[in-house]
């Protein structure tokens, strides 16, 4: 599953999340790539996304504020306009009454026929009047013109009558009264020449007033209606309450000017409430004009725009985030790979340097031993000479035998030192004719003891007619040493190791190193030549042996392949050219003395 995701993601798979080769840690420049990655992403988000979000939020706040104040302003303007219309409506009719009582004599006014005529004229001139009546100072109706038969009624106890006595003019609330039809009463007090006074009273048609109000309503989210000063609804108010019921909102605070305030309705929705106390120049009125707008409704366009902006900013932020994460992962991956490659090179170099140092040490030891060895050789040789060449010491065969033992031991020591020197020379590039049989048996010298101790049978099969090859003997031997070492580690005591060489045609030879040891699990086969890959637990393996071998075979212009079956054994096959040119292999830099 993970492998599938890894393949799908390709180069953006964060490989640095798991650096599991502990051997490389000392050589890595950075150790915590996850931290670098997180830091990089955080910094980029801070510099790219945060300003975008801050600007968006500021923009929202500013827009919110300006839309809010625009809404308030518009509400206020609407309330002012409606207030002017209502005020004008009432003032006009109060003026008409005033004109009538001033212009027309008391006698004519109290004459029902005249009054009827006056009503007709007023209806023609102003409209909205239903009836007209004249009431004397005691509250008794003197004359009436209109559709209802209300003549002779006594109004002395009614509120309008009392208030009109005090203030000369009166505008009533909307009420049903005797007629059971909503109406407004306006009344004016008039002084007669004899010092007494009477009242003229008109009933106003509320339909006309309601129509005037409704003409200011714009859209479904604005409602305009009148309430009295106790908050009782006077004209249809839709969801804010029924007529003659108390409205759901509190009565607004008195103000001479048009005002706007914010309130909540019973469902908790925000309302913009514009209101104006209505009073004419002639008389005060009980009305408060209410303009109520649902903020959410009014903001609908802005909310639509805002959700569009949100969507845009959101998807933009997502794209930026994705780009940041992909870029960061790519960069950190590159950095990680470069660092890892460097660490691997350094680890390999150190390994190689270590080998070179061992080589130098071995060469030093060999050299130092060679001098005393030469002295032993010459001295023993001289003693032997004395016995053999001079008559006076006689021929003592036993002594000569001992001296020969010394000389044999010296020869063996000499071979060991020369092999040690040969090891040191592995680091020098030298193309020479190599007899494969000799090269293989030289390598096996180092393993003879272990093989006999562990009862491992080592079989070498090189055809007698195998021609010598021209290659770097030291590198070839190192390859063989590594493969034989590897095989020895895989072998149980009593198993066997076969080394076979044969011509492979096309100027190539083939060397196969096979063991019948534990074999390699199939899943490990592709990784076997990777540096630092090891199945040996603990400090036994560095995972470099086969990687170095692979590199050496490549340097010798050859190929190395392997076949392995678990519990049956492993065969490494090297194919090498029979001849490589001098100078076509570079030196590794580490040389013996």
């Amino acid at each position: 599953m993970i492998e599938r995701i890894r393949k799908a993601l390709g180069p953006i798979w964060p490989e640095f999340f798991h650096q599991d080769i502990k051997l490389l840690d000392p050589y890595m420049t950075f150790t915590d790539y996850r931290k670098i990655w997180t830091l990089g992403i955080s910094v980029l988000i801070a510099t790219a996304l945060v300003p975008l979000l801050v600007v968006t939020i500021i923009h929202y706040r500013l827009l919110d504020k300006s839309v809010d104040s625009e809404l308030r302003l518009r509400t206020e303007r609407l309330a002012s306009n409606a207030k002017r219309a209502i005020t004008f409506f009432l003032e006009e009719r109060l003026d008409a009454l005033r004109f009538t009582v001033n212009e027309i004599s008391y006698d004519r006014l109290t004459d029902p026929d005249h009054l009827e005529e006056i009503l007709r004229n007023l209806k023609l001139g102003f409209g909205g009047l239903t009836d007209l009546s004249v009431i004397d100072r005691t509250g008794k109706q003197l004359a009436y013109a209109g559709p209802y038969n209300l003549e002779g009624r006594d109004y002395s106890n009614q509120r309008w009558f009392i208030e009109c006595q005090q203030h000369n003019f009166y505008v009533s609330e909307i009420f049903r009264g005797y007629r059971h039809v909503p109406h407004i009463i306006i009344a004016a007090k008039s002084l007669r020449e004899d010092g007494s006074f009477f009242f003229i009273r008109a009933t106003l048609d509320t339909e006309r007033l309601i129509r005037a109000l409704q003409s200011y309503e714009t859209g479904a989210h604005a409602h305009i209606f009148l309430v009295n000063r106790s908050g009782v609804i006077q004209t249809p108010a839709k969801q804010h309450g029924d007529i003659f019921q108390k409205m759901s909102l509190p009565v607004p605070v008195f103000s001479e000017r048009t005002r706007v305030s914010i309130a909540k309705d019973d469902k908790g929705k925000t309302l913009i409430v514009g209101y104006a106390y209505i009073f004419t120049q002639i008389a005060d009125t009980p009305f408060i004009l209410m303009v109520i707008k649902h903020k959410a409704g009014m903001m609908q366009v802005w909310h639509q725009l805002r959700s569009n902006i949100n969507w845009f900013v959101g998807s933009g932020a997502f794209v930026i985030l994705a780009v940041i994460i992909i870029t960061c992962t790519l960069l950190v991956n590159k950095l990680f790979h470069a660092d890892k490659a460097k660490a691997e090179a350094m680890a390999l170099m150190e390994q190689s340097n270590q080998l070179a140092s061992i080589g130098q040490l071995a060469a030093g030891v060999a050299h130092e031993i060679n001098n005393p060895l030469a002295l032993i050789n010459e001295t023993a040789g001289y003693v032997k000479d004395l016995f053999v060449l001079k008559e006076r010491y006689g021929h003592d065969d036993e002594l000569i035998g001992y001296i020969d033992d010394i000389l044999d031991a010296v020869e063996r020591c000499g071979m060991i030192t020369s092999q040690l020197l040969g090891f040191a020379r592995k680091f020098e590039v030298k193309i020479q004719e190599v007899n494969l049989k000799e090269a293989i048996s030289d390598v096996l010298v180092f393993h003879n003891k272990e093989a006999s101790y562990r009862n491992i049978k080592v079989c070498v099969d090189v055809p007698e007619d195998m021609p010598p090859i021209k290659t770097d003997r030291a590198k070839l031997q190192q390859v063989l040493v590594n493969l034989v070492n590897n095989a020895f580690q895989a072998l149980d005591d009593g198993c066997r190791l076969d080394i076979e060489a044969s011509p492979a045609g096309n100027n190539k030879i083939r060397i196969a190193v096979s063991d019948n040891g534990c074999g390699i699990p199939e899943e490990n086969l592709p990784k076997i030549f990777e540096p630092f890959f090891t199945t040996k637990k603990g400090s036994r393996g560095t995972g470099l042996g086969l990687a170095i071998t692979y590199g050496l075979v490549k340097k010798l212009h050859g190929e190395i392949t392997l076949k392995s079956k678990l519990d049956e054994g492993t065969t490494f096959t090297i194919t090498l050219p029979t001849q490589i040119q001098e100078g076509s292999i570079e030196n590794e830099g580490a040389t013996g003395r």
Binding site: A363, N371, L373, N377, R593
Partner: protein
């Protein structure tokens, strides 16, 4: 066998003396010296059949001694006998005209064979 006139140059005194004794036993006339300058002086004074030269001498390095000997007398064969021979030294010595390059410990028979071959070449 003719009495070969040999020069052995080696700072390992006991080795040089012992080798001289063994060669004397085999009918050679050996002169021994322990540093480069003495060797050069001797080569100036006398002709030798063969010179055995060590590389690590206390005063002058063997390859330099070889070069100077070859300047004075290019015909006398010089065999380098060393305990410290590297491939680089070997190449350099052969380039400068050394007859052979052998490592210590060396077999006396091997040396006698070389002498015989030189004798053959001369005759």
């Amino acid at each position: 066998m003719k009495p070969y006139n040999l020069l052995i140059v080696d700072d390992e005194k006991r080795f040089a003396d012992m080798l001289a004794k063994r060669l004397t036993l085999r009918g050679c006339q050996c002169e021994v010296c322990y540093n480069g300058q003495q060797a050069l002086d001797l080569v100036e004074q006398k002709d030798f059949f063969l010179i055995l030269l060590d590389l690590h001498l206390p005063d002058i390095y063997g390859t330099d001694v070889l070069m100077r000997i070859k300047k004075m007398d290019s015909k006398t064969p010089v065999i380098i006998v060393t305990a410290h021979g590297t491939e680089k030294d070997r190449k350099k010595c052969i380039q400068q005209g050394a007859h052979a390059f052998v490592h210590k410990p060396l077999g006396i028979d091997e040396l006698m064979e070389i002498l015989a071959r030189i004798e053959e070449m001369r005759s």
